[in-house]
């Protein structure tokens, strides 16, 4: 739930980084924290265990610029990835405006990715949110590792697309980040489907981190326009 503060001329939006444990959600936030100018970001807050695993959440507020005289302030949250922290993970989703799913590209993490994606859909549904109707971006992280699964496999498993029944939206929409690919298209069986935009990342070096953040932020602001 975005909040527009007319007194301080700020638009506040909440973005949550979701995904399996050790997938790189916190690393994404740490990279953003390290790269943006100190006057455009707040403190990075981490509620973590002594072994640096996220216990409740990490939080980082960043300003991404001004539109119509209003500062756009994004509150970035990560959730704990480990399966048994679902109670706290669900709490963080309250009032979310946009989601980034950080998938771990390693072949052996495929099942953990799928489990986490299912958990995201379930938790969103419990709040009455429809993930297919809100700003949602996927980042395939750890693309530099030798055991990274091919993109096509990851897309098939995690981003197969959802059906579009609204005739007005049934038109081919190219994916601006991947020439030759479409976000909305008709599949051979006749249905129209839409997929979430995806980005490749290596969060430890920062590759793809800002592409992902910009993509989801833009979708969030456009959803308010």
């Amino acid at each position: 739930m975005s909040m527009i503060n007319y007194a301080s001329r700020e638009i506040n939006c909440k973005i949550v980084y979701y995904g399996p444990g050790l997938g790189g959600k916190t690393t994404n936030l740490e990279h953003v924290y390290g790269k943006v100018k100190p006057d455009t970001r707040g403190k990075l807050i981490s509620l973590a265990t002594e072994t640096e695993r996220t216990l409740f959440f990490d939080f980082l507020p960043v300003d991404l610029g001004t539109i119509r005289g209003f500062k756009t302030r994004f509150h970035l949250y990560t959730v704990p990835g480990q399966v048994y922290y679902n109670a706290s993970r669900k709490l963080i989703l309250k009032g979310v405006d946009g989601i980034v799913f950080v998938a771990d590209s390693q072949v052996e993490r495929m099942e953990a990715n799928q489990e986490s994606m299912q958990n995201l859909y379930d938790n969103m549904a419990e709040y009455g949110y429809d993930l297919t109707k809100m700003p949602f971006v996927i980042q395939y992280n750890k693309r530099d590792l030798p055991n990274a699964a091919p993109l096509r496999e990851l897309q098939t498993a995690l981003n197969p697309g959802w059906e579009i029944t609204d005739a007005a939206r049934q038109r081919v929409t190219p994916d601006p980040a991947h020439p030759g690919e479409n976000l909305v298209e008709q599949v051979p069986t006749g249905e129209w489907i839409e997929r979430a935009p995806y980005y490749e990342g290596v969060a430890v070096t920062g590759d793809g981190v800002f592409d992902t953040l910009k993509a989801v932020s833009k979708l969030v602001l456009k959803s308010l326009a």
Binding site: M1, S2, M3, I4, A7, I11, N12, K14, G42, K43, I45, L47, F56, F57, F59, P61, L64, G65, I67, R68, F70, T72, H75, A87, S88, L91, I92, K94, G95, V96, D97, Y127, G128, Y129, D130, K133, M134, K214, S217, K218, L221, K222, S223, L224, A225
Partner: protein, 162 residues
Amino acid sequence: MATGSASWSFTEEDFGAITSTLRKFLFDANARCALLVDRTGQLVATVGEQPDFDPTAFATLTAADFSANDQLAKLIGENDFKSLFHQGETASMYLADVARRVILVVLFDNRTTLGLVRLRMKETVGELTVLFEQVFARTRSGAPAQPSILAGADDEIDKLFQ
């Protein structure tokens, strides 16, 4: 709204009524500062001494604190905890639920007592609940929905991310 979450907004008049209620409370309870935080972690208002900490981080942690305690309440068979109290050596804070959507946080020190803060807080929460219920009822009835300030700003948004 696409996210399915309920949004709400208040007018300058509402804001005036809310802040004057809080000012009176701070005076009566001899407390330092009152903050209103919505359940999603956004800071709505600050009254009294301006805090010397990061208010954004504070608001986020407050909402998380309250949400975590709601879950604890459910585990022991309660619906929720209406208020929370955190005691420090010199500074303490008292948090109370307002209309299930907003959290009132009061910071106080040893110039006052927990008993007085709690006593005054009870009536203040009652007054604020009435005020906020009116705001939410107005939002629900669909009355003066302001057009989004970003309406038609697609080009500007594109430029921001070039």
